[in-house]
Amino acid sequence: MSGIYNWMYYIASGGLILIGLYIVLVKTNLIKIVIGLNFIDTGINILLICIGYVRGRTAPIFSRPGISPANVVDPVPQALVLTAIVIGVAVLALALSIVIKVYQHNKTLNVTKIKGLKW
């Protein structure tokens, strides 16, 4: 039973990444594809955070007395994920603006009906 507890966060992150990739590879709607990219980002963020997690320790904030340096989780992945979240939202906003432009030119979001997007 402890196996599932050790693996559940990895399953969550890996599952989100794979579902996102599946959406990007198979779905034909552009907004769906952008949702898939968002899932990939979220999955990677969970992966990074659970790499930095140490069981039984607290967040690396020493604002209360009584937290010893030997008793906190890794702060670096949290810093990386902050960066990754902001980069993710930046890519997403740009992607949606390009989707809107593509829609204005083609009047459809289906990639199989857009000539330049067949791949």
Partner: protein
């Protein structure tokens, strides 16, 4: 000594301040990239002799590596920075009068940030920082490919964005796995610990990283985005994307393989992939009737040649690959700039409509001809030396499989010569139909083309101007213990 962090800080500050200058006058904005990149070119030329004597490791924030982000300015870094800022400067001069589509202010901001991203990629010594600058480069190029806002441009940008962001996600997964294993993000620190880890684990993370960078570098199975993106962007951006952006992807792949993972085992496979890319790129280019698509496919081919040369992994082979990076960057930038202006004057992208331009636009056509001859590898241009040294290096390996590779590479060169001669013949020896009122250009458009032509010829005749730097750079790529020593040991 000049602090190399200025190479990134100065263009960033200028890019942020373009809206402020816009308050004074709308016209200042387009000169800002020129000024910023002029400063960068100056700094990098000051740095070259110092770096060749002693590589510099500059920490950001004042702590010693591996506890902070550091810039590693070795021969390879300073060589690529010089190349990036010089090409960027020339294209920025070209763009002063080429870019007319509104909003020009935003174009110049994005352009300057793209160059900053490329500069950061080649200088940084921290793998997550590499990812951040990679994203800066990618996101600004997505926006710039869609800049014309026409049908092809937005579709190509969408395609590029989807594949590019999957690629950068893969890079981030690779970085996360490496952090989980080694608990550090400094590239030299990872490289010094890499032997202690499980080889299969290393292979998985290397596969993620190479796939991610390979999408930006457009190595064979991952190059679906490139022809569309390069052909429908504004021509100045095509020049930057072909000349610089894909090279940074190659830099990423090379850095991962040589410095971090020391993965000798897959080098022959990489050389094979490069050869496949070369063949497919040249064969697709042969069938094109759209001049910019032709150049884009030819870029794929040339990237294949560079990857092939880097995969040879002798010091001569890496040297030849780096030389090919220089000659391809110069020639392809020149070709895109010339073709872009011809298209602008004629109003059509098809090769047939360019016929007869040799008399109407003599300087531009001459520049185009020089660029294509250099790309084919005719003496006395820069491309001859790079192609010759690649072939020579491949023969010197003395493995039978590399001899087969050389034959295939030569066939690809013949195909390349075929389609470029077709275009040049079209320019000079065919009667044009509707080119009567086309005139030659002047001013900001022609200056960068002339400078590029001169540098192609000068490097072709006197390659010793850059061979010293390139030998140092090849030594940096192959000597990973030296790299680790600069960052962690010593100072």
């Amino acid at each position: 000594m000049v602090n190399p962090s200025l190479l990134i800080a100065v263009p960033l500050a200028f890019a942020f301040s373009i809206p402020l200058f816009g308050l004074v006058s709308k016209k200042i904005g387009k000169y800002i990239p020129v000024v910023a990149l002029l400063i960068n070119v100056g700094i990098s030329f000051i740095l070259i002799p110092q770096i060749l004597k002693k590589p510099a490791v500059v920490s950001i924030g004042g702590w010693s590596p591996p506890f902070c982000i550091n810039l590693v300015v070795g021969p390879l870094g300073v060589f690529l920075v010089t190349l990036i800022s010089s090409i960027g400067l020339l294209v920025a001069i070209y763009a002063i009068s080429y870019i007319k589509e509104e909003p020009t202010e935003k174009y110049h901001m994005l352009f300057l940030l793209l160059i900053t991203g490329a500069t950061g990629i080649v200088l940084t010594g921290d793998i997550f920082n590499l990812f951040v600058f990679f994203e800066i480069l990618c996101i600004s190029s997505y926006a710039l490919v869609a800049y014309n806002k026409d049908k092809e441009g937005t579709e190509a940008a969408m395609k590029y964005l989807i594949q590019g962001s999957v690629g950068s996600s893969f890079v981030l997964i690779g970085i996360a796995l490496l952090y989980g294993m080694f608990g550090t993000l400094n590239m030299a620190d990872i490289a010094s610990r890499v032997t202690s880890a499980d080889p299969t684990f290393l292979f998985i993370s290397l596969a993620f990283l190479i796939t991610g960078f390979g999408i930006e570098a457009a190595v064979f199975p991952l190059n679906a985005w490139l022809p569309d993106a390069h052909s429908s962007a504004p021509s100045s951006i095509s020049a930057i994307l072909s000349g610089i952006a894909i090279k940074t992807g190659v830099y990423g792949v090379a850095r991962m393989i040589y410095t971090i993972f020391n993965a000798d085992g897959i080098l022959t496979f990489i050389a094979f992939l490069g050869l496949l890319t070369l063949l497919i790129g040249e064969m697709s280019a042969f069938r094109q009737n759209d001049i910019k698509r032709l150049l884009a496919y030819s870029s794929i081919g040339q990237i294949g040649l560079i990857v092939f040369a880097l995969g040879i992994a002798t010091s001569l082979g890496v040297f030849a690959g780096l030389f090919q990076i220089v000659s391809h960057a110069l020639a392809k930038a020149l070709l895109f700039l010339a073709a872009g202006y011809m298209i602008y004057r004629v109003g059509s992208k098809s090769i047939d409509s360019l016929s007869g331009l040799g008399r109407k636009m003599p300087l531009t056509s001459f520049a185009f001809t020089i660029g294509s001859f250099s790309l084919i590898g005719l003496p006395p241009f820069a491309g001859f030396i790079s192609k010759f040294s690649i072939v020579y290096a491949a023969i010197q390996v003395k493995k039978p499989i590399f001899l087969v590779f050389v034959v295939i590479a030569l066939i690809a060169t013949v195909i390349e010569a075929g389609y470029f001669f077709k275009v040049v013949q079209n320019l000079y020896f065919k009667e044009g139909k509707n080119v009567d009122n086309v005139t030659e250009t002047s001013g900001y458009i022609i200056v960068p083309m002339i400078i590029l032509v001169i540098s192609i010829i000068v490097i072709g005749i006197h390659p010793q101007f850059i061979t010293g730097l390139l030998k140092g750079a090849a030594g940096e790529l192959l000597g990973r213990t030296g790299y680790i020593g600069w960052v962690l040991g010593g100072s």
